[in-house]
Symmetry: D3
Subunit: 340 residues, 6 copies
């Protein structure tokens, strides 16, 4: 199997520790993350050849992200440098009824200023089986959206599986375009879409006929409308998340292949060490499962849900769980025993 | 609306981190707190003009508390300096079945040695709407109790709303007087009292006729006895707290205005990051609600309960939640979603 | 009452903080522990004269363990020095569905290389009432098993109560012997055995006739088979543990004296700060209870269960709870109130 | 004496600890600073009424800078909010032969996007005696330079003493103008200029006739050329710094009032805890001395040099030394005795 | 040789790290110290049987000091408990020209409230060879001075060598007596006095005839006056310290036995990690040397100076250097080579 | 130019922070190092293709070293896994007159148990220009010495430049062979040797005729004897180090090519942040210089000395300085200016 290429922004994350509020912190923990990079790391942890494409500033902070990529076994051969700054975000970690807070500081980042033509996609995709992108990238700037379109076109031409996480963030999309002006074109090339129906309809400019679809029966009917808009689509998946509190989440999932809805039981996740990136852990699990010929759809979905759950116990943006750990949990062992 | 004046002691708090026991700690976290100061900070966070009155030593530790007051937007214009030392307390943070431990080291503090005449209360109360004090201050020394009496008399004369938190601490009250020799005189001036019925009866020298009042029906009857002892009283409120464990609390509340008992649903609070000061967060919420003409009694109580709950998720003595955060939670959103 | 002597290995423990994975840590917390030493510390915390016997390297790391023993009030008068290194273990602390991970690095430690004749057991046991050892020591090397046999023989001759924790660790026992070749001889001298029936049968080479014994009725029947193999046995006890997740354990216990099964209610333990050593906390509670003439069997068991529960809230290998704290909890108070 | 108003940018500073390189740090220390703000804090520490004017984003990071200003006793009444982000800078702290590294991330900050008309300077300068600005502000953006010009014009009209630190930073000045197109107009209003002759000549478009001026005799001649370009100038001062290594600096100074050169002895500063902001400490000392009617020029210069020296021993951007501490050192006591 | 008994106060020390000022610290390092306890620890590190006598509060903080004593191998068998609180001190660690700052918070400590009769000195001194006390103890309270007198009288009667460090602290001596009203009586029993001539004359009410004694020739003449006041005196020693800066000290010493002045070369100590307690390290070295029959006076003095020097490189109040380390340095090796 | 291959052990280093002694530390910093690996990292930082060969355990600790290698851009393609454990060492960081202490815990490591035949050297050396090893590897075990011999033979056959650092450690060499039984054979293949004459003579079984060679004139004569023993030798170099104290080193160097002695001026290095690995930094600088065709011998030596000096300012075992930084310093700039 070939490599998986992901494209997006890697940010430095500056976070308070021990649930401190921003105004209490004398120190910020320094880690790295970003929706697509999180997917790349998680796949590398599963033993898959993983390559990340982005644009980075030519300074110490940019170099540190390269060090992190190498440490996490993610190839950075096709990364371009230039532009002014590394995107950042600040994270205040909540607990219980107090949710975490993100302050983005990613405007004018090197990645937001990427331009069409900067990446040689034909070269990047040599030897690739999958290309993954998410709705965050077209949201950060118009030129990033254009480069995203370049990428999916080339990937499509080269016959590469395209996976897409809708990842709607209302604090982004500031450059004057509505997602439904940008996303339909991009999603048209997708083989796999991860997202909830509301977001998909919002991005694809679809109208919900039956607002009560969540009760269940009409799920295929709604998913089918997405298929109707995306001619290359093979799978739609949705992470089910119910937030009891910032420290207690309930996670399940649905996978639909236009013939059958496959769903996974809701699992309790408590305590939550760090929920940022848990959706990306689901996405990486989904990609892993779909690439794994020995997995049934149910196994794929269970794997993705288990990956999402275990991510909540891991500090930082990305899922550092190994294949063995996720498989163990996907097979039903939630006991958290000491390994000794 | 005028400023809220609070009077009490601000202490340096030295606490172990990550649930370490005292004997395991090489470091103590340094924060500040004290029942009345906690109320002052919380009100300032709600945008209310807040002033704190105390007595501080003239050394670096005293200066640091001034810096903390300014940082937290609490005025310290009327503070007097002198005396020997800043009050301290040591905190070992528990978890689960192991409760937290407080070691007080506040004897002979500058505040404990305050004397009548040191504070010009007429000057302090210019422009004030509310004066808040608690049962901790008359407990630390006889002269502090006398200054408290000075304050409530002047506040009463100047027509200022007086709020009182009974705050009984058995480890204090060491100077030879029983609370019921001191508190009735002080509470006689109160407009609002926060406390449970047992404590109120104990401090006001009242006898419970029906020890089964907790079952509910006779609640107004018991509260009315408090009203009978406190001629200026308009409201009595009680924080309902059931401790499942050090890490899991259940919080509700009752507000009584001599005509109707208003009560709030019990809410689960888990995990508990820091429960110290959660009663003060309730008190500040109560003051905020009562000052807010647009709040019904139920809204006031919901706000106070929400403030108390969210405080448990915040490290340190005082509630750093904003008005928006408490309102959001008081309106029923307990999900702790990530804000991004 | 005389001193309690424990024999085993004390290791330096190097652990990640705040649930970090090994690959995320720039720092390791440094503490000390080991099954038998944990028992020794806990007993010292209950006010019992406690002495630990082991072999340590003659270097700074060995000296640090002596400092820790003294700090924790455990006598080290009979310790011998020599050999190459201090045993170590690395701990990655899990949370929720992700269990903790232990990486042992104790091979060729000074203790593993202990030889018969190095300890003067007659001297060690002067003034002792109890000798405690566990199945970890005979598992680390054949010579350590031999020294263990020396010890139990001398203790038996001197009429000392011998307590044994089966403590099976599959990652140890690497020197070519099956536990059932070593343990029966050792356990033959035991007065008290702590362990579950499966482990006891495995170590004593017994065959389960009724694999459904866990449903309850046949418990005495199974325990009796252990008694049949151990001629000096007076009590068998079992810690009941159900692992909901790494952060939520359920703890109970059983104590059998060949006439009656005494059992303790299951208690919920959540959150778990550190579960390593909680079995040792049970063992120390059991020893304390059995030595305490005023305790009934039920009180002894309740004490051991409470000690086990409270240990989960304490960071590090050993139970730092005081007698008062365990008694309070054993008497049913699980509320975790703030002591102030 | 009236307040001192300073105008400039306040940045969050993210720095590695214990001389770690960027690639080694898992944590960044969080403090605040900026050339002009550092002056404001230092003056406040000397008991002078100090007000800082800037533009801040309306988010948690902006709010934190307000908390810091209050803590440090610097008024923020005239600050305006708006724009996208708080300026940041990253600091890697050097040692010995390895210098510290600054990575600026301040482009497009709220302050860089300030526009003429946003600040009501007439209002700001009510009650002010001194206005301080530095060459950093006109360097960050053209509009910031314009607002600087607004400020000095109004200050001049209102008869306020204007102090200016040349503060040339080659990594700034990116918007297409040479300093000599911007600075002469601004410096024309200055009463006091701090800077070395090379920088002053560079900014004022002057030509050095005698490149050997550093040997001394021609110093007044060179300073006089600066006076000739700045009609309102009363004093020029220069910090003399010789860098033996990152950990050992030698500091002196010169003050010229168009009649006489006053100079201070070179002092050794070792070790250097943090040299960032030591020039600002000199500037604040100079302002303090010039405002202090009882100081001779020599005392003023000694005070400024002492302030600069002591700053090197203090972590963070600004000088936290008190008036007493600087006076003690200016009077010749460099012993660093323990005060106890 | 018998044990060395020391009597004094042990305090918790709360110190800022990395040269932070008090107002910058979110954490305080927690260690323990006190002039006499520092001597006790240092002697224990040299392998001498060391016992510390003091009075401690009966709370967790007092218990922690017992743990520290045991860890450091100092016996606490004769300690009495009672009183209100543990003495504390706060330390801000300086650097270069900025000296460290101590804020004492030891008034009303359990030790300050010690009363005559509380300690059974006859019992304490059984098996003792040396009793050490310092001028700090009679400075903290009148009753502590009285207990000190009890101690030296009994020690004298029992023929024990009495060593005294003058240790004048102007911030103490607050109870209304001048040192010269208290110290002569106490010092009359001393066998060894450590202190400079100025302090000795001040405490013993002596008048300097030749103020230029520091130039050297008249040293014996001055020391002889001290001998004249102290009938039991055998040795006077003085630590010579020149403070280049807080980070650079120069250390030498003088030892006089009423016949000959022995002096040690000045040694440079830079950098200074922590100078608190370096005088106590000298004192302990002096005691060690005088007890060591194989040491000449010069060797004793060299040992004391080396101990003092090496203490400056060790964090915390007491000297943790081993006998081998001090001997190595006393023999002239100052290279600080890596031992590997 | 081809890659540089280094062969040796990578250890986890556990070190105290802030000059704490082992007995004071609750935390150990976790980094990685080892003489030969340090060379590999430094070369990678200079932009040279660098590959490290070793044997690692198949556990989490071994995996972490792989992550570190990737982060530091060192290839680990030829590493073999197996064996029991990762080598460790503990470091107590000294200051001033107190030297640092190393406690090795590397016996029985996976690398020490490496066997001939485990590494396919023909494969490893494909595309290599240089092979580097040091005297530490043949010191850890006889089989490691044998693998070293395998390596140098193959390298020699393949015409690869062989560089050797003598690196004598008396605490190693425990397996019963004297260095002079092992090293002559190995060094016979060397092209470049780094080491002082005493060590070279000791390892090569040479006798010093003129013990006063250090005074200088006879230097070539002594070096020539080394050449006589090593038929492939082209260069001998020596690091000159004078240790003023643990915090102040003086560094120079000598390079001899059998015709001319080239020497570099002594440079002062103070303060020392971390001197471990500074010899390896010299070695890497030497290799870089010799590979760089544009460097004269003097430039090579200056580069090596500068690399060694700057390493002392960097925490951890390896030199993280960039090519630009070392060149800047080698060209004479020692000022440590702030880069901003």
């Amino acid at each position: 199997m070939g490599k998986v290429v992901t494209f997006g922004e890697i940010m430095m994350r500056l976070s308070t520790e021990r649930h401190l509020r921003f105004s209490q912190a004398n120190f910020f923990g320094v880690t790295y993350g970003g929706g697509e990079f999180n997917v790349a790391v998680s796949l590398a942890n599963y033993g898959i050849k993983s390559e990340f494409v982005t644009r980075l500033p030519d300074n110490e902070l940019g170099e540190n992200t390269l060090k992190e990529m190498r440490k996490r076994n993610v190839s950075h051969n096709s990364i371009v440098t230039g532009g002014d700054r590394l995107g950042l975000y600040f994270l205040e970690t909540g607990a219980g009824t107090r949710g975490s807070k993100v302050v983005y500081d990613r405007a004018n980042s090197s990645m937001a200023q990427i331009l069409p033509g900067m990446i040689n996609w034909q070269e990047v995709f040599k030897g690739a089986s999958v290309f993954h992108w998410s709705g965050v990238t077209p949201a950060i700037s118009e030129s990033a959206a254009e480069v995203c379109l370049e990428a999916v076109k080339v990937a499509h031409e080269m016959g590469i599986v395209i996976t897409s996480d809708l990842n709607y963030r209302s604090k982004l999309w500031k450059y004057g375009k509505h997602p439904n002006q940008i996303m339909p074109k991009l999603l048209g090339y997708s083989t796999v879409i991860l997202g909830d129906i509301d977001t998909a309809f919002f991005m694809l400019n679809l109208v919900k006929v039956n607002p009560d679809y969540k009760k269940g029966e009409s799920l295929p009917e709604h998913y089918d409308k997405i298929f109707a808009k995306c001619p290359n689509l093979k799978y739609v998946a949705t992470t089910l998340r119910y937030s009891v509190s910032a420290s207690h989440q309930q996670i399940g999932g649905v996978l639909y292949d236009q013939s059958k809805v496959c769903s996974a039981d809701i699992k309790d996740v408590t305590p939550v060490v760090d929920r940022v990136g848990s959706g990306d852990a689901f996405m990486a699990g989904l990609i892993y499962g779909l690439l794994n010929k020995e997995f049934t759809h149910q196994q794929t979905l269970n794997f993705a849900v288990a990956a999402c759950c275990i991510k909540h116990t891991i500090s930082g943006d990305y899922n550092l769980a190994t294949l063995e750990e996720v498989n163990e949990m996907a097979s039903g062992n939630l006991k958290g025993l000491v390994s000794r």
